[in-house]
Structures are given as C-alpha cells and as structure tokens.
C-alpha cells in the first residue's frame, strides 16, 4: 500500500538536478548582442524557416536581466567591449555564452588596432561557432550543444 499504488502512473520520480536541467534547456531566453552580419544570420535562425522556437529559445530578450543565454554575434571593438561586459554582468546566474562567428571568436579578418581578438579574453564562452557568417544550421547546432551543457548543470 505505498504511495505509488495510490497515485499509479500519474507521478514520475527523478532527480532535482535533472528536472531543473530539463526545464532550463528547453526554455532558454537568448540575449542577442548583434554588431555585424552575424546578427542577420541570427535573425534568420529565429524566423520561420529555421524557427529557433522549436528548441524553446524563441523568447529573445533585449534586456540582459531577463536572459540566460548571451549570443555575441559580430565584431566587438575595444570601445564596445565594456558594454558587452556590462551586459554579461547584468545577466542573472546561471548564464551561458555563445560566441557566434569568426569575429567574436578570434577577431576574424579584422586583425586591426581597434578590434578585440576574441571576446573570450574578457567573458567566458561556452560554445564557439565558426563561419563568416555561420549559417543558421550552425547556430542551431550551437544551441543544441548549449542545451547539453545546460542539462548537465547543477540546479543551484
């Protein structure tokens, strides 16, 4: 006469970490930091043809305080880097970062005096996307990689 008998198949037992991870990974709220052509591809990823909503990440927030996934898509100059750092700092924990495209990841072809040669020098990056710019498929794969990582994270 256990509890399971009374409730029968209406309950499922799991671990808190797995439950929270499952919920988090299917409800990512991205914060787009679009400074160049990568942002155009990011928009295409969100639009109907590729439809990022299928992965539960359609709620693009332009406020960092409501987001848990920062997508850096484009060049970041030394004048813009403090802005990006501030946005990253304003995002509540837990948070993840995608560095989208060659410029955000390494400076790309802009090996010049004013461009940060990879945003990972100043903020931690979880997934890098190669490409110039990457196609929406690459962005989707990066989001799925993030989902794997989110699912493994501890609940608190």
């Amino acid at each position: 006469m256990g509890l399971e008998d009374q409730l029968q198949e209406n309950v499922m037992t799991t671990k808190v970490d797995e439950m929270v991870g499952w919920a988090r990974k299917n409800s990512l709220w991205p914060m787009p930091f679009g400074t160049a052509c990568c942002a155009i591809e990011l928009m295409a990823t969100l639009a109907s043809r590729f439809d990022l909503a299928r992965f539960g990440a359609e709620a693009i927030r332009f406020s960092p305080r409501q987001s848990d996934l920062l997508i850096v898509s484009g060049r970041v100059s030394i004048k813009m880097m403090p802005v990006l750092k501030k946005i990253y700092d304003q995002m509540p924990e837990p948070k993840w970062v995608i560095s989208m495209g060659a410029c955000a990841s390494s400076g790309g072809v802009f090996n010049t005096y004013t461009l940060v040669q990879g945003v990972d020098q100043y903020i931690p990056v979880d997934v890098y996307i190669p490409g110039c710019p990457p196609r929406p498929e690459n962005v989707i794969q990066a989001l799925m990689k993030i989902q794997e990582k989110v699912a493994q994270a501890k609940a608190n």
Binding site: I78, T112, T114, Q117
Partner: protein, 178 residues
C-alpha cells in the same frame, strides 16, 4: 555610345587645362595668384590657403553663381613619406544642388602645426565630419563647438589613420582597461 565618345574627348587634364566655371569665378573674386586649381575628370578642384579659409568657404557657399550649399564630406590625406614638410591636406567635397555641380577644396596642413579653421559656422554638417578627421589624423579644427573623438574611445592615445601608425596598433587592443 555617344556619351562615351563625349567623355573621351572631354578635357581630363591637370592644372594646365582650361579653367572651368568655378575656377573662373574664384579667380575673378580672389585673383589668379590666390589659388592653384585643377580640373580632372570633369571635376574642378582648388588648393586653398588655410589662413583665409573661412571667407573663401563662405564665398563658395553664398556666391549665386557657385551656391555650394552642401558639404558632402571632410576628410584628410597623409602624404607621408612623400611630403615631410607639408604632411597633411584636409579635403572638402562640395556639391551645389542649384547647379548640379561638384567641387573639391584641398587645404595643406603642416605636421608641425596641425591646425585649421573649422567650417561648422559655414556648413553645420561639418561638425561630425571634422570630429572624425580630428579623431583619425589629429588635425585640430579651431572654432569647432565640440571637438572630441567620435569613433575611438576618449582615452585612445593615437591617431590611427596616420601613415606611421601600425595596422595592429600600439597594443591598445590588448591593454585597455574597463
């Protein structure tokens, strides 16, 4: 095709060529010696003195036969290492809606004294254009209402479009603090 032939026979010579309508007008007002002029690919140009720049520019704007009411762009040239003495030239691109005519004014500026008068009082649109030239070349526009850097960070120490500035910078991109 007819147009193309016209263009080929059109005068595309340098300063030696026949003076155009703008040049003629300027010479009538300031005299032959005041300016040296050019007429390349159908666009007249002039090399002006920086000391009398403001009256000259005001004349270009207000004279009814010229009416250059639109300042298209202000930029600069760094002639290093061709000309060490007079290293820079500030270039003004003008356009007249009234006469559908373009004109170019080049003003030499020496490196030892990189100053030039601001033309914001003549064309208010010069404000940001002159700030960009100041930002990139370090040429100071006297009389400018708000001469600050416009593209680079305020504490950026160099003038990046100068020819002696290295492409990868002087370490600014690795050593900036925030």
């Amino acid at each position: 095709m007819e147009n193309q032939e016209d263009r080929e026979t059109e005068d595309v010579g340098g300063p030696e060529s026949e003076p155009g309508p703008v040049t003629t007008r300027i010479r009538a007002r300031f005299g032959d010696a005041s300016v040296s002029t050019g007429n390349a690919v159908g666009c007249e140009s002039v090399i002006a003195e920086r000391d009398a720049l403001l009256p000259f520019m005001t004349f270009l704007r207000d004279d009814p036969e010229l009416s250059f009411g639109y300042l298209v762009d202000v930029t600069a040239v760094d002639r290093l290492p061709l000309d060490q003495e007079i290293r820079f030239a500030v270039v003004y691109q003008l356009y007249s809606y009234k006469h559908n005519r373009r004109f170019s004014v080049s003003v030499p500026v020496p490196e030892a004294d990189p100053r030039i008068g601001s033309v914001v009082s003549v064309w208010p649109g010069a404000n940001w254009l002159e700030r960009e030239v100041y930002d990139m070349y370090g040429i100071v526009f006297e009389g400018h209402p708000d001469l600050r850097r416009i593209l680079m960070p305020d504490d950026f120490g160099s003038y990046p479009l100068r020819k002696d500035y290295p492409l990868h910078g002087k370490g600014e991109r690795d050593n900036f603090v925030f």
